[in-house]
Amino acid sequence: MKRALIHTVAALLLISCGTGIPGSSDEKQSLPSIFPDYTGITIPANIAPMNFRILEKGEKFLTVFSSGNTRVSVKGDVAALKEKDWKRLKNGGTDIDVKVMTFNKGSWTAFKSFTMTLSDEIDPYISYRLIPPSVVSYERLSINQRDLTSFREKVIYANSMIQKGDNGQCINCHHYRNWQTDNMQFHARQYMGGTIMAVEGKLRKVNLKTDSTISAGVYPAWHPTHDYIAYSTNKTHQSIHTADHNRIEVADEESDLILYDIKANAVSIIENDSDRFECFPAWTPDGKTLYYVAADYKAPFGPEREDKVFLDSRDIKYNLYRKPFNPDTRTWGRSELVVDAASMDRSITLPRISPDGSKLLFSMGGYGVFHIWHKDADLYIMDISDGRIRPLTEVNSDNVESYHSWSSNGKWIIFSTRREDGAYTRLYLSHMNPDGSFSKPFTIPQRNPDFNRDFMFSFNIPEFMKEPVTISPREFASFIKREAQSVSYQSKKEE
């Protein structure tokens, strides 16, 4: 309270000197309404300026940021800071206090100040796919990288660089080994399709489909220590709800898990139970266990299977499994059920293990595996040592929480959510506190705070990166135009 008072007086002095506004104001005990909601958040020490728009009514606006002896005031209903001022504030020695004031009918109102707590640094880069929430049209897709310490954003690859007319190209599943970009991959589907990989910085294009597998590789998990990538293989279909707010349903008609041996350029089966859909592999940091989700489902194979899957879609529940792996001998142990979500009438997807191997973050909803379209999907965390699970209530909303990733230091998570409007996915960050709880989530800052409201694309598959992708979009494009290398099929090794 004392500190808030000091800041208010300082702010008033500032505006009195700088703008000639009388040095008195009405104190309001409520926080100002701002977009994005950055009140009371914990932010990385190296994050870009947290610009926001003041949603309160007023004829004039003033925002005073202060940290230690450093104060920066911004006029107008958009509190946008210059990067150098933001740096000064972050170097001010304390957390950043923010005081918002509005001027109405001849007097100023000062809202209750709020704090942005500076915390651990975050990986400087993230990448994501920008995609409209469409069903069949994917003319405008790009995988972009964003420098979180500034507002710089660059395209890694965009499908507009190659596709032509009916030769549409879907790009998806960008993925990095250990948050580093010299080993990375993404898929190009349909026109000039194949998996584009950078292995130790060298590009290659492979076709992971073999006669013995359902499809080419889909959801990837790059082995942390050896040259393997685990993939799911999926035969997937989309369908549209006539009335449900979830709008679209994406379901597996078939799915298995495969392992791609990069050096041998060969794939082998990990799991291919015909009565089970296996999906979303994720390695533990030591590379000795593979987590994945799987749903038991029996239906005859044939032309009616797709319709049957959709009819049964609400009954298809994915559980969490793990499977031991010896990376040196490429041998697998027996799968083990870790979380029986089906018994709770729930369905798990996207297991992601923290860098220290102690926690497992996943998304859980009522059914299915493609939770980006499920409004009831929330984030949950499991303590791997004792198997205890809890919902991240401090992070979740009443809308979709789906794809999520850990920062390389394990202090931050980024996740996609549709909490803002229910249809367009946005990226939120949250800090893991020492006690294992998470801080209030906030959307990644943009130069124009209205950006998230106006932007007509969804942010999809956020992944942290320690460094930017340096391969140029044109280099990727020229590689995509090449013929894909075929892979051979290896038999599975079991203990």
Partner: protein, 652 residues
């Protein structure tokens, strides 16, 4: 004193008088032609475009070379919302083009000034000849892009010719090729090259071949260099980016006018009209010939199709929820065709009279079939929505001509992309409406129309935040701000929404159980199937009414009885609308079913059916197409005419 006398007094020569008259009357005539003949096309073009008064929106245009010219085009396109204003702007640009051509190419236009109209005529053909291509145009601002591009090129030519200092000229050429490429795409390098070519031939300044070399190098080299900074287009589009783009395999038809314009401007400096002294009889004849040929070309190449105009007019009325107007437009179109139908019928009868062989008769009937008026499927579907919203469908839906005349187009455009968002929304399927808004936006960019239906879909689904997202964008537009504000004022008040137009007719239809499905872009079949096969226990009287409309369209007797029983259960069974009575009488007679005797059918309906049966006995049908017209004159407004003569209708 006569007029020329007064002009003489004012110092105007007869040549100038002719030129002034021509420069005034021709644009005025074109303006009338554009507004009166293409008013609804202009409205449709506008509703398929979007201009947001927002800095970020402008900056986003820089993501592709030529994006800025598209942005400027979109800015001007917004004025087509008021077709007169939009057309005046378009004509003003065309007049400016004419003036610039005369200034840029005096050697060409001094004696034969009518030649200066050629670029304007090409531009007119481009704009008015697009037809159904307006649904496939992918370039924002496509309607104005060639006009702006041409003006840019001509301004560069004029500027370069007026600058004698070579280094300054070179700088202009380099700026045109580089900054021009960034802002206007290929129109930039074209400006540089055309200006350089023009300066090679300029008589009033020193001939400059060095500029041509600089222009060639910069016009080829700079785009190749600059394209590496972009990820929004393919390498093989380096020299076409900025030209209009159509979602069709062949780009030539839409780009040909631009290429002709470029060709004209590149060739014009080299054309010298000799031995044509202005004002001579010979020159006058040539000028007149140029104007007549231009007018004929414009008339021939502009897309004038009654069904296309009617579709656009109905769509515009529908977007205003003016349901009566939607139906009236169709009625007026039918009335206009009455004379031509009669002529086609008498000629066909005469031709058939001279033939007795069945094969010959069939081929004659086939030959004449397209001469009879027939609406396109979209017109029929729009009309059904309008009548249902008016609540008169059960007594009048068959009062209009039915059919599925093929749209006059060379491209494949699914009805879902033309009208999916509208039809799904008004038939109470907002999820599907929203879905088609998104699909359309991915293919062609967001438009006023897609934003509007996406917002209405979200409102009817009570997804307030999503609705706000779309409406907040429309608030930043010139012509849709008021509408958007009126919608924002409704939310999140559920009761206010339910009472407001058009939600008061749409929301009562949203009483079905959710199911997973896919329309495969065949929307009519999907909606038909939705209403006739997926009734829930919460069905409202409105849903049962809609189900009846679609059940009648299926011509399925079993389905009719089930739907009819549902209808009688939820609506007033004492007052059965005319078409339901007609269907019930017809089907019960076909099935020899006497179970409907107790229903309160009108005497006139029964008598009309008897008259139909008796007429059929005296005028047996040997060929449905042949008999349709005479039968339609007597029974065209009845269900039994629809049942017997509109068979095997293709659905979309």
């Amino acid at each position: 004193m006569n007029a020329s006398g007064s002009f003489k007094k004012s110092g105007l020569s007869p040549i100038k008088i002719k030129r002034i008259l021509s420069d005034t009357l021709l644009p005025a005539a074109f303006l009338l032609f554009m507004v009166l003949g293409f008013r609804y096309t202009l409205l449709r073009i506008e509703s398929n475009s979007l201009f947001v008064h927002d800095m970020d929106y402008m900056l986003s245009s820089f993501s592709i070379p030529g994006g800025f010219i598209g942005w400027a085009g979109e800015f001007l396109t917004q004025f087509l919302h008021y077709p007169w204003i939009g057309a005046v702007i378009w004509v003003a640009l065309a007049v400016l083009t004419v003036k610039l051509v005369r200034t840029a190419y005096p050697g060409l236009c001094d004696s034969l000034w009518a030649l200066s109209y050629i670029p304007a005529v090409i531009l007119s053909i481009y704009c008015l000849g697009a037809g159904y291509g307006i649904f496939l145009m992918k370039s924002p601002g496509w309607f104005f892009i060639p006009s702006i591009g041409t003006i840019l090129v001509l301004c560069t030519v004029v500027l370069c010719r007026r600058i004698a200092l070579l280094p300054v000229r070179w700088i202009i050429i380099i700026i045109s090729a580089s900054a021009g490429y960034v802002l206007a795409g290929i129109w930039g390098p074209v400006s540089a090259l055309t200006a350089a070519l023009s300066c090679c031939q300029a008589s009033e300044t020193k001939r400059d071949y060095s500029g041509l070399v600089i222009a060639l190098v910069s016009s080829i080299g700079l785009p190749v260099l600059l394209h590496t900074f972009y990820t929004t287009f393919r390498t093989d589009e380096i020299f076409t980016v900025g030209l209009p783009l159509i979602n069709f395999e062949k780009q030539l038809p839409v780009r040909l006018p631009c290429l002709l314009l470029i060709l004209f401007m590149a060739a014009a400096p080299f054309v010298r009209i000799r031995n044509n002294r202005p004002g001579t009889h010979k020159t006058d004849i040539i000028q007149a010939a140029v104007i007549v040929i231009s007018a004929a070309a414009l008339f021939f190449f502009s897309f004038r199709d009654r069904n296309f105009t009617t579709e656009n007019a109905m769509s515009a009325a529908m977007d205003r929820y003016d349901w009566k107007e939607v139906a009236d437009i169709l009625e007026r179109a039918e009335k206009k065709s009455a004379g031509s139908d009669e002529r086609a019928y008498s000629r066909r009868t005469k031709s058939i009279g001279n033939n007795s062989r069945m094969n010959d008769i069939e081929s004659i009937v086939d030959r004449y079939s397209t001469r009879f008026y027939e609406p396109t499927r979209i017109m029929v579907l729009y009309k059904d929505v309008a009548l249902f919203s008016l609540g008169t469908e059960a007594g009048s839906m068959f009062s209009y001509r039915d059919g599925a005349r093929k749209q006059k187009r060379h491209y494949e455009i699914p009805i879902a992309l033309q009208a999916g968002k509208q039809l799904y929304f008004y038939w109470g399927l907002p999820n599907y409406s929203h879905r088609w808004c998104i699909e359309e936006s991915v293919e062609y960019g967001w438009s006023y129309s897609t934003l509007k239906y996406a917002a209405m879909s979200a409102i009817s689904m009570e997804e307030w935040d999503l609705a706000r997202k779309y409406l907040d964008i429309l608030v930043k537009t010139l012509c849709y701000r008021k509408w958007a504000e009126s919608q924002l004022a409704l939310i999140p008040d559920r009761e206010a929404v339910q009472a407001a137009v058009p939600y008061n007719t749409v929301i009562p239809l949203m009483c079905y159980d959710d199911r997973l499905s896919n329309d495969q872009a065949i929307i009519e079949t999907f909606i038909m199937n939705h209403f006739t096969s997926h009734r829930s226990t919460q069905a409202t009287p409105q849903f049962d009414r809609a189900a009846m409309l679609w059940a009648l369209r299926t011509q399925d007797i079993g389905l009719f009885w089930i739907t009819f029983l549902n209808y009688l259960g939820s609506n007033d069974p004492k007052s059965i609308p005319r078409h339901y009575q007609e269907a019930a009488i017809l089907y019960s007679n076909l099935e020899r079913n006497t179970g409907i005797q107790s229903l309160p059918f009108d005497r006139q309906v029964r008598e009309s059916y008897d008259a139909f049966v008796n007429y059929e006995k005296s005028h047996p049908v040997r060929n449905i197409s042949e008999s349709a017209y005479p039968y339609s004159k007597r029974f065209g407004k009845t269900f039994w005419f629809y049942y017997y003569f509109i068979r095997g209708q293709e659905t979309f």
